[in-house]
Symmetry: D2
Subunit: 401 residues, 4 copies
């Protein structure tokens, strides 16, 4: 794992931390406190937990004379690190009206001041490569929570019948610039997984060889117009398109359109971070579950790509794939599993990825909510098949006959 | 139903409304927004709903040129009045980060200004007795929500592992001043139900005759020390003391002490509006479910009084009953049911009480959280048997052999 | 508690026990084994539990050299007597494919042989009045389970899409013979509760005085035709008729007609012990929940009677009430509660009634499934408000204006 | 898909069908009727559904003058084929006391007679290869249900506190014959998937190339003694060994030993088809969930094999792997997913496998309950990660450092 040169570390730290707080600016203390469902955490919790990460994994280990900002936070803002100790239950994060947003911001400021002091010590990062790695991990972790702040607040605001906007200025990602087409890839022996000196999460390693059959991938993402055609053709009503588990999920949850769509008169609107907007036909269809993505693909006589196909195609010379990054995460048919030779880090930080490798599906690319520079071709995002509140879409694949 | 003279109505309105807002003063906007369980509403919702009551039932009917402060509030802050229309679902009240607390306070100010203008019209109340009755009902309703603000915020703060105090100055009710004793009542034909010209809810009417057997009531409430003896004797572990449904409830919820008690070392503390406090042995034991109150009574070779016994005893000449009002609501063994000849008001306001008369139990008296002047001997409070977050205690009764 | 003379006891025992087994004759071993919901027990379990009652409460105490038929049965067939020890969980009764039906019938035969031997001892019942009382309680208990065998098997067969009949010869109770009318009762001081030397359950005692307002009761039960008018008038769709809890129950369970009704073309059929039958308009409407009975009554500008009204009216001289017994149990608005001075028997048998006195409503009369001679005017049946699988109907009451 | 020569088809049909009925012989009609949990079907249902398969997919298409044995069975015994029409809900299969076991056996006899008549027509299978394929699929399907009859009845009998044996003569599979060891496989390009002319399910196709890293597989299965060491080392109490979802599952279900184990004094017993037996240390540990298998593997500093590793290793020349077949199904870390180029059959029969390819994990090999000749190296069994009632065990794998 490679990290930034010493001179850059402190300023990168400052920039990433500031970006998180900027995301909270349009929100009131009330907005930041409430938890709309167990999977979606309050903004305030995200603000605190990301600070907890630096305090627990770096300051506690490296700061001379370390004293916790508030010892209670060790439990309150521990997400899931059993190695650190107890955790306040996830579904109850929204009950924490105290500490207040102001106190959490003070917590952030305190951690930042101490981190800057630590990072100011000459040669520290060179002498302590483990610290350098943890620093980078903390910043990458913070960027992941930046995206979660947006997905979680979108869900909260959507629960409000007033449909308030997060920010009127939020801009939807541009539609694909060209007509969709199929791009062929020959397969064979390819390498996937992270390569090179830049940062990568442990789950992207080790780089390894896989053998792929030839296939075709769509150059663009499935659009709202495409998806409306699926719906108009009774796509939500015909079990032939659906995984059995997806069909039951659809029936039990009474689902018949993407999460944030709403019928208005003859047309559809979509709830976005900019508020409710008329559905834009050429934009990529968003906030689909794996089940819906898979059903659409079957209906379209195609399938979801595997993550290896996606990664190999994204790196193929001459590939014309659009919308790989910055629009929507793209469901793959690959269950989230360890790469051959996968090993976790020692200690509690080793719980970061590995223990979630069951009953989740890999998403590739990145979304309009992903911080710039955060993602890469080998990046493996993952969510359960029923998740819809993330910025999830799909790119079709098909076998070469 | 009798109401205050015209000249007093406006000032009484102002006083009651101000008292509600005073209760919110120790709370942040975050505290006011969150809903810790479906039964406990956010303070902000209470602030808004009580205003909705005046706006919907009085201003909409009597204000010239009525315009709603915000038409969306008609649904958002309708608690359960089917006759008014749809209601925003109760378990989701805590998701309403918008309207903000500031907006809700502006809503209150707007309603108050319009109400004062309305009440300032000479002779209006005399000419419109229905309005006068609605005004008084609205104020009584607001007082009921004043108590709920306290019970609901206590529950919320208790959910927080930091156990923040609502107000350090909150004072527990004084213990009973005399040694407990049994007071005998002869029974026979007695009258219960509201009498006289003062306000009463419809469920206190009509006053009617009941025939009672002789009985004895305890002069004081069961204390923490009493209840500790029950616990020390294995009271929570012996099914012989419990209603079958209570025993299952206790087992499924893993309940073995009153709601807000917590063992600390060898002793117990109790979470209160003033924060966590050592358990005071002589104070009345609080926050019991009906099941616990009933089990304690059986263990003590006594029983819960009926509501008729309670009311008759409270009015008996020479009665030495203490702690009737102002300490804790007292469970009775009486299911909440209509009095003979009970009739509801016409229109949506008729939904106030009658439709809840099933599977709830009557509590009599009043609590330390009840606004001064709100309760009376004929007052019928009611909650389901499992409810513990109200200020509930018990007074024993027994048959005369 | 009075019981039969010695010479009659044995023959009465034989007759009651034989009647139970006769009820199982139309059923296969499979029919007798399955449990369709937690509230409805398998026939085999009823056959065994009623024998367990005699074995546990009589043979174990009075039989010289008592040895259990099978020690495991002490737990398996204990319904809810904590005083006897552990109970096999009620919702799992249907998993007991062993002991087989044949073994359970052998268990019955063994208990019967030992009971007959015991009862054959001269003067035993005179010398042991407690035994005599237990014997009568056991027989009354067995009769209660005779009715439950019918209600539970009806529910099971209704779950089967083949709608098999329990017995083609099962005859519905005759409709009321006269036009419905209101019968006035003057109220005042009346006595209710069991009187005289015959058997009564502890919950019918002590007989005591109550004061009643004047009221009117319908001479007959509400009919299917009456109920169809309620439905045609949108009775299931208008919350104004419903208790709040009933309205939510109706919505959550998607209920819009009585339990065993089914629309067929333009008409309705009803599933009965004789199989599916066209709905008979003049028969009493059956299998209603308390919520439905209460909603119908409000719609009809009436109410449910109290249990005291029902009992007093049934005993009034000159009363013209029909269908008091033998058609359907009649919901009252009375919550199941102890009579003043109520006391339970000592020991485990004291759990028979008292511990269920919460969140249930009293039904009076008896049904077409009640064994002849079992019920009486003071009899108090009770079920939760949502129960519909019993033979429940309603008789209207109203206040005298 | 290759099938048996014409002359053999009828006798093979008879043999497979008879084997199913032989499994039901030790069971009473009651045993055959009850459903202990939604995942485990009654024996009677298995007997009927396997007949339904032949009647629906073969007789209905090929029998001249086809008439259903009972038209209601088309829905009652349709497991999950949406293409055939409605299905009686799976969790309610145990409510079907009718049709009786006798009727279901008559149904089997009728289907068998008609099938034999059909199969007796000269050259039919040669002329109708689709029929031949369906016949073989039906027989393979029936064999799968033979195993399910055993797993489901084992679960039912275990629910009974009397712990009755299915058959005293049921013999546990022999332990591995040699000391466990690691066997190395070099990986590289290998082919997996069905090859050759014999029958295979669609999910084993197409045969295709995969690239494997070198690895080591254990020559035998993990034993009860091994697993006891894991437990003695606190394996169920240390989250470090567990997938996060597995840890929550363990906590919520209060799981701390394999499904059918029970502590007796100082030792353990295991419930088997032969009844309760002292735990045999050298036998393979059975009835583990994926979560438990994975936790054990981490504790043992190993991992689960992938299905490709398992299949390649089983076919490797010189491989010394024991207990591949006939002891226990072996969890792999591979999520159940389509092979590259996977295609389902046309029509309802195409629902056989493909629609279940989400949130399940592949098991390889076969178990002591699998009919002889049914499984093969390319066979893909699959169950959700929490499933424990199947005959599931584990074989360790590890990376080559």
């Amino acid at each position: 794992m490679h990290i930034a040169a010493d001179s850059d570390a402190a300023s990168r730290y400052v920039a990433v931390r500031a970006a998180t707080e900027a995301l909270a600016l349009p929100l009131s203390a009330e907005d930041c406190c409430v938890q709309p469902m167990p999977d979606a955490s309050p903004t305030k919790w995200h603000l605190a937990h990301t600070s907890w990460f630096f305090e627990t994994f770096i300051l506690e280990a490296y700061e001379p004379g370390f004293r916790a900002f508030d010892p209670a936070f060790r439990v309150l803002f521990n997400s899931y690190y059993q190695g650190v100790g107890q955790q306040y239950p996830r579904p109850r994060r929204g009950l924490l009206t105290r500490p207040s947003l102001a106190t959490v911001l003070a917590y952030r400021a305190d951690v930042d001041a101490r981190m800057r002091q630590l990072l100011g010590r000459a040669d520290l990062l060179d002498e302590a490569p483990a610290l350098a790695a943890l620093l980078e991990l903390g910043l990458q972790h913070e960027q992941q929570h930046q995206e979660l702040i947006l997905t979680d607040i979108l869900y909260l605001l959507w629960c409000n019948p007033l449909w308030p906007a997060y920010s009127e200025r939020w801009a939807a990602p541009a539609p694909g610039s060209e007509a969709p087409a199929w791009q062929r890839f020959e397969g064979g022996l390819v390498e996937i997984g992270h390569k090179g000196a830049g940062f990568a999460f442990d789950n992207e390693l080790p780089r390894h060889t896989v053998y792929l059959q030839p296939c075709e991938l769509a150059t663009g993402l499935v659009t709202n117009a495409d998806y409306l055609a699926f719906m108009a053709d009774g796509g939500y009503c015909d079990p032939a398109h659906w995984l059995a588990e997806g069909w039951d999920w659809r029936r039990d949850q009474q689902i018949n359109h993407p999460l944030y769509w709403r019928q208005e008169g003859q047309g559809w609107s979509e709830f976005t971070l900019a508020g409710s907007r008329p559905l834009a036909p050429q934009q990529a269809v968003a906030h689909l579950s794996y089940y819906e993505a898979d059903a659409y693909a079957r209906w379209a006589e195609a399938r979801l790509p595997t993550e290896a196909e996606w990664e190999a195609a994204s790196a193929a010379p001459g590939a014309a794939l659009q919308q790989l990054f910055g629009t929507l995460w793209q469901w793959t048919q690959s269950s989230y599993a360890p790469y051959p030779g996968f090993a976790t880090a020692l200690g509690a930080v080793g719980e970061y990825n590995g223990k979630f490798m069951v009953n989740q599906y890999v998403l590739r690319g990145s979304s309009c909510a992903t911080p710039a520079g955060h993602a890469r071709a080998s990046y493996r995002n993952f969510f359960p098949a029923a998740a819809r509140w993330q910025f999830t879409g799909l790119r079709l694949a098909r076998d070469v006959k």
